[in-house]
């Protein structure tokens, strides 16, 4: 096992771990707000549940990059890495979704909290409320894309 493999697996692990932490954090704070709304108005359950789930996607994106990485470095397929610098390349390729996933999921969670408040006051404005958290997610999608493109082209 070369040092390159260590680097690559570190990157793969971080992308699921950090993005997952972010999503858990975001979904967590949004869930608290959602539970508060449902305690007052149980009819809003479906709507606030959707809003709560929105910050959950970063964790999935992290998992995605991990899986693609693992399937290229000889863990789930592909060929083993023998040199250190290829491994480091995988590591850095994983960083965008790891870091942006963590931070954007947290902020998306906060935006979801605000949107849940909006739905509580004006249930008919659900379409608009959903859009605000989705805006934050754009940057997670961009970093996911960069990570995927980088990993698949190493």
């Amino acid at each position: 096992m070369s040092m390159g493999m260590v680097w690559a697996i570190l990157g793969a692990a971080l992308s699921t771990a950090l993005a997952g932490i972010g999503s858990a954090w975001g979904v967590g704070i949004a869930g608290q707000a959602a539970a508060g709304v449902v305690s007052e108005d149980p009819d809003q359950f479906a709507k606030v549940l959707l809003l709560q789930l929105l910050p959950g996607t970063q964790g999935i994106y992290g998992l995605l990059v991990t899986f693609i990485t693992l399937s290229r470095i000889g863990i789930l397929g592909g060929t083993q890495i023998t040199d250190t610098h290829t491994g480091m390349m995988y590591f850095f390729a994983c960083l965008p979704i790891a870091i942006v996933g963590l931070i954007s999921a947290y902020h998306q969670g906060k935006t979801s909290v605000a949107s849940i408040g909006l739905v509580a006051k004006k249930p008919d404005q659900f379409g608009k409320a959903m859009l605000f958290p989705a805006m934050v997610e754009t940057y997670a999608i961009l970093s996911l894309l960069v990570s995927i493109l980088a990993v698949t082209n190493i």
């Binding site: 999935i60 693609i68 989705a134």
Partner: protein
């Protein structure tokens, strides 16, 4: 694909037909009544607030009674409650309920009264239980708690904070008393918190004994019911039994009204509708003999409404011109495919009259983009079949829900299409199954019709951006169409054509460049004249934008500066186009996660156990994946429409059409067609 034309009607009718006219309009539900524009000081308005409040209260009481019925006489309804929609009710049934409404009001009051009594009973039970708990340490006491003694003896009944034995208590109580000591001391019960004692002594010693006891913290009990504790407890227990029996009687009394549930529902809606009518009535200007109404109707129904009111009630109905400060409400009409997408448009905002209704164009892009993001044939098939079954089975469901399901039906079809294009059927399920259980080791069985995204993401990214450019160009085109419609040819050339030229030219300059080839791995070779042409087209477009964007300004320096600023807007085009990369990212996400699920499911190998675990993990995992990715696809398709597409041309600002109609929460009147 259009905004329905509206017609303003003004109605004047004899007061004796007032009730009938209003009821007809309410049942038809086609007119948005608006009386603010009639102001004549001679016309008076009725005060209907108190009547209205009575009706609202009745409706709310029926709602409460129905909630109680749902608890004590649960209903057995087939299927999923949320999909059932409102109950269809024949008009004859409605009039029967309306005629007997006094009976139902009484029954409803009885239900609510029973509930109130039940609350009281529960209160009594709690009171009894508290008393039993408080008396439990005193059960061994044979005299009432308030017992103070006989003619010659004094009783000291109370509590001490710390545990004590009978002997110690006796010693403490009798300390310093003259002989013969006549004291009887007894510990009744002892617990961590307190010790209950009873001490008997001669009346003359009472002060002294009490003093002795006080030094170790003696306190008389807080006021409890007077009586022997054991008897009091027994009485309370019988009372609890009685109250419980009463509660169950009351429960069955409420449940006995379960058969009137339908009537209660009808009555609730009847009172709500009546409250709404009185609300309107309060705003209607009336003279001594007549009353006046104004309102909006869709143009195709205007004549028929007018004819109906004239023939039946001799009303005078005139068509009116729209006043300058008025805005007609917006009603959309679209074909069967696009109609469900109106909901998406509505949640952004309706278009104003005179503008374009983008629903039809949007719905096409919506369905395509949704399919690209979910992009799995298996998920798509599951989705459209589920929607089709639900739509077929629950014909009576709420119209909003119906529209949503119809939209997802089309999205499911599109998802299936894109799934086969990308070669995804529950991820790589077919190959995994073949490999794990049948030992096939060949090529992939389900080959993509187009290409597999993961093997060449850059190629798909370029395609996604191409779709983005088409989407955005369409948006710009709609803006151009609106400009042409209002005969603004100059604006059309300066703001629309110039941008088309500028952007298209730029794209054609970029395509053959080395930079593009090295990024995308595709190389384009155009003949030399295309390069020249696109260079000049770009420059002309750029010059038009630079010179003409600020054409409203006299000052040329300012005008050029504004033009340059507008030109800078090309960066927003760049970011808009890049935003379509989510089509790729979300498409990849679905496919790869589906593969991960298949991989996990097949980890247990072949054989019976492997097959069972495979099925369990497969079902659970893919359901989860459908849920989370369908949500993602829905949210991000909306975003592409709202932010990128609408950003190019659309500003809502239309007013939704709110016709005066029956307020039906539970029922739906089956109407004979009048219009």
């Amino acid at each position: 694909m259009a905004i329905v034309e509206m017609q303003k009607l003004s109605i004047c009718a004899n007061k004796k037909h007032r009730k009938k006219v209003l009821e007809t309009l309410q049942n038809l539900g086609v007119m948005e009544v608006d009386t603010v524009h009639i102001d004549d000081p001679d016309l008076k308005k009725m005060d209907t607030a108190s009547m209205r409040n009575t009706f609202v209260k009745s409706a709310e009481s029926f709602d409460r009674a129905l909630k109680l019925l749902a608890v004590y006489a649960p209903e057995n309804r087939k299927g999923i409650a949320a999909l059932n929609g409102r109950d269809p009710v024949a008009r004859a049934k409605l009039s029967q309920v309306v005629d007997d409404r006094q009976k139902y009001l009484d029954d409803m009051t009885q239900v609510l009264h029973a509930d109130k009594e039940m609350t009281e009973c529960r209160g009594n039970i709690t009171k009894d239980e508290t008393m039993i708990a408080a008396l439990s340490p005193w059960l061994k006491l044979g005299v009432p708690l308030g017992f103070t003694g006989t003619k010659t003896t004094a009783a000291l009944i109370g509590t001490l904070p710390d545990p004590i034995t009978d002997d110690a208590l006796y010693a403490q109580a009798s300390a310093g008393l003259e002989e013969p000591v006549c004291v009887s001391a007894e510990v009744i019960s002892s617990s961590n918190e307190m010790t209950c004692i009873s001490v008997l002594c001669l009346k003359r010693d009472e002060a002294r004994v009490e003093e002795n006891l006080r030094t170790i913290g003696f306190a008389r009990p807080a006021q409890l019911a007077d009586g022997i504790p054991r008897e009091l407890t027994a009485t309370a227990e019988t009372d609890i039994e009685a109250q419980k029996k009463k509660i169950s009687e009351l429960e069955s009394e409420i449940a006995s009204f379960g058969k009137e549930r339908e009537e209660f529902r009808i009555a609730a809606d009847y009172y709500r509708t009546r409250a709404e009518k009185y609300k309107l009535l309060g705003t209607i200007p009336q003279s001594e003999k007549c009353f006046f109404l104004e309102g909006w109707v869709t143009k195709d129904k205007a004549d028929r409404v007018a004819k109906l009111l004239t023939e039946r009630y001799g009303a005078l109905v005139e068509t009116e011109k729209k006043a300058d400060d008025e805005m007609e409400p917006t009603v959309l009409h679209n074909n069967r495919f696009s109609e469900p997408a109106e909901a998406i448009l509505e949640s952004y905002g309706l278009p104003q009259h005179g503008r374009v209704d983008p629903t039809c164009i949007m719905s096409i892009f919506y369905v395509i983009f949704f399919g690209m993001m979910l992009s799995d044939a298996g998920y798509g098939i599951l989705m459209f079949i589920t929607c089709a079954i639900l739509l077929k089975k629950y014909t009576n469901m709420d119209s909003g829900l119906k529209r949503m399901l119809k939209l997802f039906f089309w999205c499911g079809l599109s998802t299936t299409f894109w799934g086969f294009m990308y070669g995804g059927f529950f991820g790589d399920a077919i190959d995994t199954v073949a490999k794990t259980f049948f030992g096939c080791t060949g090529d992939t069985i389900l080959k993509p019709l187009w290409f597999e995204p993961l093997s060449n993401p850059m190629r798909l990214l370029v395609w996604c951006m191409l779709f983005g450019v088409i989407h955005l160009y369409t948006g710009l085109g709609i803006k151009g169409y609106e400009m042409l419609k209002s005969h603004d040819v100059k604006g059309f050339i300066c703001d629309i054509v110039s941008w088309y030229m500028f952007l298209t030219g730029l794209i054609f300059l970029l395509l053959p460049s080395d930079l593009f080839a090295s990024i995308s791995g595709m190389s384009f070779h155009f003949p030399a004249f295309v390069g020249q042409l696109s260079k000049w087209v770009t420059i002309i477009g750029m010059v038009i934008i630079l010179l003409m964007s600020g054409r409203g300004r006299k000052n040329w320096a300012l005008r050029i500066a504004l033009g340059a600023y507008d030109l800078y807007g090309v960066t927003s085009w760049l970011s808009d186009v890049l935003s379509y990369s989510r089509l790729l990212a979300l498409g990849l996400a679905t496919g790869v996660i589906a593969n991960v699920i298949n991989l996990m499911a097949s980890m247990f190998g072949g054989g019976v156990v492997g097959a069972i675990l495979f099925v369990v993990i497969f079902i659970f995992g893919h359901l989860l994946n459908i849920g989370i990715n369908a949500l993602g696809a829905y949210v991000h398709t909306n975003r592409l429409q709202y932010v990128e597409f609408f950003g190019k041309f659309y500003d809502a600002g239309g007013r939704p059409f709110k016709p005066f109609h029956t307020e039906d929460k539970y029922i739906e009147i089956k109407e004979e067609q009048v219009l």
